[in-house]
Amino acid sequence: MVSPILELKNINKSFGHVQANKNINLTIKKGTIHGIIGENGAGKSTLMSIVYGLYQADTGSINVSGKEIKLRSPRDSIESGIGMVHQHFMLVENFTVIENIVLGFEGEFVFGKKLEKAKEDLQKLCETYKLNIDLDSVISDLSVGFRQRVEILKSLYRGAEIFILDEPTGVLTPQEVDELFKILRSLKEEGKTIVLITHKLNEIMDLTSEVSVMRQGEVVGHTKTTDTNKEKLAEMMVGRSVLLRLNKTEAKLGDVVFKVENLTVKDDLDVTRVKNVNFEIRSGEILGLAGVTGNGQTELLEALSGIRNVESGAIYLNDEKISDKDNLLDPRELKEKGLAHVPEDRQRMGLVTDFKAYENLIFGYHDQEPYSKSSILRDGDILSFSKKVMEEYDVRPRSPQLITSNFSGGNQQKIILSRELNENPKILLVGQPTRGVDIGAIEFIHQRLIDMRDKGAAILLVSVELDEVLSLSDRILVMFDGNIVGERVNKDVTDRDLGLLMAGVA
């Protein structure tokens, strides 16, 4: 029998008291696309960082093609034919493509002939795999999709036989994902082995031939992709059965609650990020705002929630003008008028992570009864309220005294959500509600949003996760380069259609 190209035996790794990897055994066959799926914090990235030599395992051994290798630094793993495309690209932004690729493998002290040779080799690789990269362009001028190709080319140039891709599609448009998958398939055809780390079930089903599931630092299952389905995988990931389809009935639309008229917003560098945007939201409706990160969604959300000044245009809540250029209600005043905001960056804007959970649970409402009386906080009432809310929103662990940063991403998000939903807002602005949140919590958060809608709230959902926008929204707007480039009713829309809009080509 041919020995597997990559074999991990009894890998253990701890960071302080946290055991990130427990007794991992994993076998990856040559020439396959092998998926590793698991929720955030399941230990996938740690495991792959060990394989890439960034961390050293506490115990265990790693074999490549039947031979044990010692990994002290990434250099060792590169020499063993392992390449990694990290979630955050490891590129120097003001260097050219070729400079980034030869970095560490220049081959000579003074640049000369070898660099020319490298260029020829790279050009050939680009043609073989249809990467279509201009080697002399500067990284900061490239789109995210192309930067990722540079990473792939980098590994190819260094002679990788095993490609580890860590959450490669998180930042891509659907079209870019298609392109990436094409490249990965052509790598496989050339006999390369691909390890795909992801938390997205669709990708596993689409691309892989085998899949391993990780949960809480352990490999809990291993199967051929053809022998499983999304529901089974999700169940293995979470440890219980999960509802992948939402209980969502037809929206019962009410009056227009929220209206945005010709809104233009600039960012801190004085660049116009939101350009003359118009839309309205009715009560009982979820309006989804799709788009690739950085196309003005953040600035729009900040302006709507009273954090950022409006350059021109106006915002109306129940026909009352709440903001224009000269007059901007602050977040507190907006709150009193029934607007709630779940910010995109929960750790920076949604929470004071050094505070205890019960403090964050009432933050912003802390000066109201029953939480305080005559400007003095009433800890007893706050704590009993907190316990009740944590029960209701299934925040784990249920300890209001725990420092907020010790909660997982999903539970932190539940803390924010419970705080914002508790006052029954008329209009709810939600940014990236499930970014970095595990499947179990996603299910819960989505259901809560639907419930809010059914109670008559108007909801603006800003998300870069297309699946999320599609499954929650009643109506979808697509934002590209600060403009609303398309509006669709959710019934008659496809991924592809939205993807083209998101890429600005439709």
């Binding site: 960034l54 490891m90 640049f111």
Partner: protein, 323 residues
């Protein structure tokens, strides 16, 4: 024709005054391009000046003094590296510590060894660097223009002056045309990219700091064993800070940093010339006001004219592997 010798001597002093600034700026360039802030140029320059003067005095050779100054400066750079690279301490604090320590230590040691607070004995001609007269300088003096350029401007400088102007193209070549330079720039921009390429980030930063120590020692030795014949208290007089300003003004690029150093050198040379000069209608400008020119210029340039100086992306951040 009377103005020509004046201009020649102004250019001559500009070249000389800029020399320590150039060494310091190039030293800073290596550290900062690697992602380590070097606010400690001032202290290291002072240390180099002191050690060079003392070494030359004891061993009778300015070259030995220079070598000792190099050792001292590299040690200080390593100390800075140990605090801020290995132990990930605050880089500015580590630099400030070096600066303060050196002001005190040089003064105290001078007092302990030579009985004079902050003064070392005057060096004889054998113990210091002398001005170098270029070949045929006297013979060519009478040729118009060329004579002035060659004999009055280029000839008659200390060895450090020539080294400084030689150093800039070499630094440029190393930083932009070699694999070491590529790694140096990368480690200051995105150390993770360097780490994942299998290069040790810490080693790179230490190497950069080592070069930094060598270069800054030239600046100090120039002050105490060439231009002057002894060390005196706080003789670096803010040149380390000025060089750092020139580096920022020059956007961390050797060529533009050189221009900035020359500009600062020129205003200083001009300042010396203007002292005591009577201007029509205004009269004599107070010396203090004139002496302030280079510093005022620094503030104005840094505040307004430079535009956005984009620093190396990872400057000031200790490298920690992501968790």
């Amino acid at each position: 024709m009377e103005i020509l010798p004046d201009i020649a001597s102004l250019i001559n002093s500009t070249l000389r005054i800029s020399t320590p600034l150039i060494f310091a700026a190039m030293a800073g360039l290596f550290a900062e391009r690697s992602g380590v802030i070097d606010f400690g140029l001032e202290g290291k320059m002072l240390a180099a000046a002191f050690v060079a003067a003392v070494g030359s005095y004891y061993f009778g050779s300015p070259w030995l003094g220079l070598i000792l100054a190099m050792i001292a400066c590299v040690s200080l750079s390593m100390l800075h590296g140990f605090a801020s690279v290995t132990h990930k301490g605050d880089q500015v604090v580590s630099c400030v510590a070096i600066n303060i320590l050196m002001i005190g230590l040089t003064t105290a040691l001078a007092a302990a060894w030579f009985g004079q607070a902050g003064l070392t004995p005057t060096l004889t001609d054998e113990q210091r660097f002398l001005e170098i007269t270029l070949p045929f300088a006297d013979a060519l003096r009478d040729i118009p223009i060329i004579g002035i350029i060659y004999s009055d401007i280029l000839s008659g400088h200390y060895v450090f002056v020539y080294l400084a102007y030689l150093c800039v193209p070499i630094v440029f070549w190393i930083v932009f045309k070699t694999s070491f330079g590529l790694r140096l720039r990368a480690v200051g921009e995105n150390p993770s990219a360097v780490d994942t390429a299998g290069i040790n980030v810490f080693t790179m930063r230490y190497k950069a700091l080592m070069i930094n120590g060598v270069l800054i020692s030239f600046a100090g030795a120039h002050l105490s064993t060439a231009v002057n014949a002894n060390f005196f208290r706080e003789m670096s007089a803010g040149r380390g800070y000025l060089a750092l300003a020139a580096l920022i003004f020059g956007k961390w690029h050797p060529k533009t940093a050189l221009i900035a150093c020359l500009l600062f050198g020129f205003t200083d040379a001009l300042q010396i010339r203007l002292q005591g000069v009577e201007l029509p209608a205004i009269g004599t400008i107070p010396v203090q006001l004139i002496q302030a020119i280079p510093y005022v210029l620094t503030v104005v340039l840094l505040a307004g004219f430079v535009g956005k100086a984009i620093a190396p992306n990872a400057i000031g951040q200790p490298y920690v592997k992501e968790r």
